[in-house]
């Protein structure tokens, strides 16, 4: 049985061409410690890391590559941005109900610790993540941060980030965007967007390896670093470096991951982003149509695929999502994800607690055959009584 991979929102599979060889290069002719030495292997690693950073900056529309800090992933980038932006005592933050736990948990932890408050923006109409007018109303005198996903990892719905940024800027409030489901899917020019901070992983839409992510900081914005330690320079100084990106990159970097991500970015730069986006919309439309006509299947989220990235959530009447996913995998070789997708408030909004949904997500190498296989398999499932008990972990959305 072949594998039909429809879980690109979890991690891209396969990775972009060139990722593996680039990672191996970091173990060969540039296997020195980047930024931590002046010998040839260290300098080769330093330059290779810089080339990766510069390529990503070009892809993401960032003039100064130094405004992109490499992190251990989107979660690390979001923690840095959130903890570095909110006050120690009191204050106010805003997010939507669609946020991933990578945003929610740092915010909730901050609320417990600081006594601050959080406003959760309710869903907007027709599957929209929120209404900009609600954001405007939610801003208070002590609002220190607005944190919003660019696109939901549950429904794929795209948020009006530019509009939110204009509101935030007009009110003098910092805006952090979680670009985890948008990076590599939606053409973006970060320097031109009214955002202050933008975080994303390297392994999803950017098609790179796991274990590396990015934090973009707009020109002139620096945060207290979350992690401090050796940076390879100014070692006699008590404080960490003042400037990005080194301020946020204490310790030895993930050179294999960074070089792999750089190769993925180079691959994406050779693609037409608008053609890729059109293909994604077409694929999502095909999935929506195919699944939508099956009796007992309910789709969740926006109906218009042009308003979503390539992510779709659905439920099958009488079946736990975990059982659907397990059957798809075991019987049909189709890889999808089931559960809460680390976004519990999103499921509260959708009415899909506690079991969550089945989530299918497309990628650049998804084929028409893949798109036909999922509805065919789900139709087979929907016509039958559940034959596999839902695993407890899946039901809890672990």
């Amino acid at each position: 049985m072949g594998v039909i991979y429809l879980d690109h929102a979890a991690t891209a599979n396969p990775k972009a061409p060139g990722v593996g060889p680039a990672m191996l290069r970091s173990l060969g002719d540039c296997n020195g410690n980047p930024g931590h030495g002046a010998h040839r292997l260290s300098v080769a690693a330093t330059l290779a890391v810089y080339e990766a950073r510069a390529t990503l900056a070009e892809l993401l529309g960032v003039r100064d590559p130094g405004r992109l800090a490499f992190t251990a992933g989107a979660t690390a980038a979001l923690n840095q941005a959130i903890r570095g932006s909110l006050p120690e005592h009191g204050g106010h933050a805003i997010c939507s109900v669609w946020e991933h736990n990578a945003v929610l948990r740092p915010l909730l932890e901050w609320r417990r610790r600081s006594g601050g408050t959080i406003t959760f923006l309710p869903p907007g109409p027709d599957g929209a993540p929120f209404r900009p007018a609600d954001l405007e109303r939610a801003i208070q005198a002590d609002t220190a941060l607005i944190a919003l996903s660019a696109a939901s990892n549950v429904t794929g719905a795209i948020a009006p980030v530019a509009e939110a940024g204009e509101i935030a800027r007009a009110r003098g409030v910092r805006l952090l965007v979680d670009g985890s489901q948008a990076a590599g899917h939606l053409p973006v020019a970060l320097d031109r967007l009214p955002v202050d901070l933008w975080a994303c992983p390297g392994h999803k839409g950017l098609l790179g390896p796991q274990g590396v992510g990015l934090l973009y900081l707009r020109e002139g914005l620096e945060l207290p670093p979350l992690v401090v330690g050796g940076g390879g320079f100014d070692s006699a100084r008590e404080d960490p470096p003042d400037e990005a990106p080194e301020r946020y990159e204490a310790g030895t970097q993930n050179t294999p991951g960074i070089l792999g991500l750089g190769a993925a970015a180079a691959h994406l730069l050779r693609q037409d982003p608008h053609a890729a986006r059109a293909r994604e919309v077409r694929h999502l439309d095909a999935l929506q149509r195919g699944l939508g006509r099956i009796a007992g299947v309910r789709l969740h989220g926006a109906a218009d695929p042009r308003r979503c990235v390539g992510v779709l959530s659905f439920a099958v009447a009488g079946w736990a999502p975990g059982a659907v996913a397990e059957t798809l995998d075991r019987r049909f070789g189709i890889c999808v994800r089931a559960g809460l997708h680390c976004a519990p408030m999103a499921h509260e909004a959708l009415g899909t607690l506690p079991a969550g949904t089945v989530r299918a997500s497309v990628g650049p190498w998804t084929t028409d055959d893949d798109l036909a296989a999922l509805p065919e398999a789900v139709a087979w499932i929907a016509a039958r009584a559940p034959e596999i008990a839902a695993p407890a972990e899946a039901a809890r959305g672990a």
């Binding site: 980047p34 930024g35 931590h36 030495g37 002046a38 010998h39 040839r40 260290s42 300098v43 080769a44 330093t46 330059l47 890391v49 810089y50 080339e51 950073r53 510069a54 003039r63 100064d64 590559p65 130094g66 940076g231 390879g232 320079f233 100014d234 470096p241 003042d242 400037e243 990106p245 080194e246």
Partner: protein, 100 residues
């Protein structure tokens, strides 16, 4: 500005230091793209926050600085080269990477 090969080592060169390795690498790449000869070296005796420096021929300094100014990368310091090469905290003074 020579196109190919780095500057001659010794008193006829200047070493540019930067706050961090990203700024240094960006400067190196910018000069490379502009056809300016330069080398990444170990830190000069005067010190460099990131332990590295960019060596350029003294005669090419003005042109190199113009390229870096256009790029928005400002060296933190410009040091004369000492006699006998480039002793730094990397040791040995050997050029580590050379722009074509």
């Amino acid at each position: 500005m020579p196109d190919g090969g780095g500057p001659a080592q010794g008193a006829a060169e200047r070493r540019l230091v930067f706050r961090g390795v990203t700024a240094l690498a960006r400067a190196f790449r910018g000069l490379q793209d502009a056809g300016c000869g330069c080398e990444i070296t170990a830190a000069p005796p005067e010190g460099s926050p990131c332990g590295l420096a960019l060596a350029v021929a003294a005669a090419d300094l003005a042109a190199a600085l113009a390229v870096l100014d256009a790029l928005g990368v400002v060296p933190q310091g410009i040091h004369p080269a000492g006699p006998g090469g480039l002793p730094g905290d990397g040791g040995g003074g050997r050029p580590a990477a050379r722009a074509r």
